[in-house]
Amino acid sequence: MKIAYLAVLTGWTTAYGAMRVEVGSKAFTESVILGELLTQTLVAAGVPTEHRRQLGGTKILWAALLNGEIDVYPEYTGTIAQELFSGAGLRGDEAIRQALAARGVKMTASLGFNNTYAIGMRAEVAERLGIVRISDLTSHPELKIGFSNEFTDRNDGWPLLRDRYQLPQRDVRGIDHDLAYRALESGAIQVMDLYSTDAEIRYYRLRVLEDDRHVFPEYNAVALYREDLGRRWPDAVAAISRLEGRIRPEEMIALNARVKLDRVQESRAASEFLSQKLGIHGAGTEETVVDRLWRNLREHLFLVTVSLIAAIAVALPLGVLCARFPRLGQVVLGAVGVIQTIPSLALLVFLIPLLGIGARPSIVALFLYSLLPIVGNTASGLRNIAIEVRESAEALGLPRGARLQLIELPMASPSILAGIKTSAVINVGTATLGALIGAGGFGQPILTGIRLNDVPLILQGAVPAAALALVVQGLFEVAERVLVPRGLRLRPSSQ
């Protein structure tokens, strides 16, 4: 049953995906800009293309590419060699191409710049301590370090750096890359990891420490695309190739600065670049704030509504079963309770191999989180019906189904509705996380706002999400008045 359901979903994905090219990008500005450049170049070549922006980290994009959820995404050669094929010891583009080919993936030539990892400090602090090279850090064990979580964990990041330079620092914490700049500015940390094309290097007046032992590999920007792309869209590969070697390092820094410092949308920064550099015009679309709010609202409501309806359809019968078979009930309630303890981000990541990215895994996750309140409240609402009332219904000669429909469910309806309301309100909040895997919704402006340190943009997601939760709460109070039988809303008389 479940497998059939998945098969239908997968089939739908394949058919749906064939209608256009899907470009993915990771959840940092440069990747989003590159994704936008790829998208607009494809659109200009007459290939219908959709950009699924800021989809999280490398693992998510790579899995999505292999699944056929996306067809193209910008990547870096260092990441491919060190992260995607870690342990394979790939050296040089040719080795990388062979490894990729075995997985059905092709790679463009370098897009023109190397965005390697770098270690940076505020220029005046580095000056005062006399730090120029990374090896100079060995004589300053007291320095506090803030690294992006990905850099801390990945093989070619902090572990490699620490071993090669024998770095003595113990105060090393994981911190969001965009927050790290502000932590550095405030003095909370003194050392952070950078990307060498970061817009902030100049803005925050940072010193990039020399990698004197050549630890960091080359991170040439490339585009990875599925082998079948050329067959499905013959013009697509040629269009992507137009970007090869066309983006110089300083141009990438300028593009990053345009978005992060000048607050220009990625699509506009990309279209400006394409028209100046490649003579490609008019492929970028810019969204007004109202358009985006409207789109986010629809996406958000879609996630919440579909998941909630599915949860009601499953949880209500489950609750009835739990009330009727208390032993089974304990098992079911235990199981849905355990689901509740899985962190939402972890659940989303688990679901990607099964369901890919976008709305479906988000809906399934929201569905799973919605089960407990509805199952629990349905079961307890039914169990709390007095025995003499239940037996009176039985003694009338009503069959079991009719007793449930005419007596027990109406009597349990206040409890059931309260459970559905709880699920709905939680869903509205949790659905913001769907943006992490490309489901859109109000989480998207929040995510972009955090990435760009743009508080008004964060509020454009957070405020409507909170308002929506209040509206949902209000709607359920109205629904209670309509759906809960009047006799149950009266105060018991004292007579």
């Binding site: 006799g487 105060r491 018991p492 008389s493």
Partner: protein, 254 residues
């Protein structure tokens, strides 16, 4: 004499290996009121609920009008019985009228037939007409009991089974309702089985009394037979365990 309504032979029931009924034989004659009486835990309610099929006997069998109760016929047989319980057991989300007519509507009786039956029952039980639109939480205990009785009588049952029907009422209401209930029983001339722990109430209603103790039937007979020829000293004790406020008056009077 017509055939018995219920015949229970050798019925036993245990809950978690604690016996509630031990091999009881009982016959309920037609058009009489039989009262099952005993202290709490004597098995009297279990016996009544067994007649409705709410409790399934571990051993023995229950015949209603000659048919043995089974999963296949229980729904149809219950529709030929009327059941009332302490407090009324009314459905709180339905009005008084909806409580009474629920089953008739479920069986798709024509509207006119439902209305005719309802107004007849309202007259019979002297239930106030305007109370029909009220919800159970808006009714007094006595009114709730009348609604419960109307609900039990709605389908024109062959037998009425009542489990402590007046148990939760204050003494005056209870006293008045006892007379009314007896008047209704006489008028409809139906077979009644009633459970009570009150000897006075049992003597008032019962053509036949069945005394139970510890899951066994000690004796059955008229109140005169129980008083004059008790099968067990406990029966005399049970009958005499009554206090009248007049006792105090008599004691004070030399």
């Amino acid at each position: 004499m017509s055939a018995p309504v219920f015949q229970l032979s050798g019925v036993s029931k245990s809950y978690n290996s604690v016996p509630a009924l031990a091999s009881c034989n009982l016959t309920i004659p037609a058009q009489r009121t039989t009262v099952l009486i005993g202290e709490s835990g004597s098995g009297k309610s279990t016996l009544l609920r067994m007649m409705l099929g709410l409790v399934r006997p571990d051993d023995g069998r229950v015949l209603f009008q000659g048919s043995q109760l089974s999963d296949d016929n229980i729904l149809a047989l219950r529709r030929r019985m009327g059941y009332g319980i302490q407090g009324g057991g009314l459905f709180p989300h339905l009005t008084a009228a909806e409580n009474v007519c629920l089953m008739a509507k479920y069986l798709r009786w024509p509207r006119s037939k439902i209305d005719a039956q309802l107004s007849e029952l309202v007259q019979l039980t002297q239930f106030p007409m305007e109370g029909l639109a009220h919800y159970p939480s808006e009714l007094s205990g006595g009114q709730a009991q009348r609604v419960s009785l109307m609900r039990a009588l709605m389908l024109g049952p062959e037998v009425i089974l009542l489990d402590e029907p007046l148990g939760a009422l204050d003494p005056v209401t209870r006293f008045e309702l006892q007379s009314e209930l007896k008047r209704v029983f006489n008028k409809v001339g139906k077979t009644v089985v009633m459970v009570t722990h009150d000897m006075g109430e049992a003597a008032f209603f019962g053509h036949r009394l069945v005394i139970l103790r510890h899951g066994r039937i000690l004796q059955e007979g008229t109140i005169e037979e129980l008083i004059n020829a008790p099968a067990d000293p406990y029966i005399t004790r049970f009958i005499q365990a009554q206090r009248s406020p007049l006792d105090a008056l008599r004691a004070a009077d030399p």
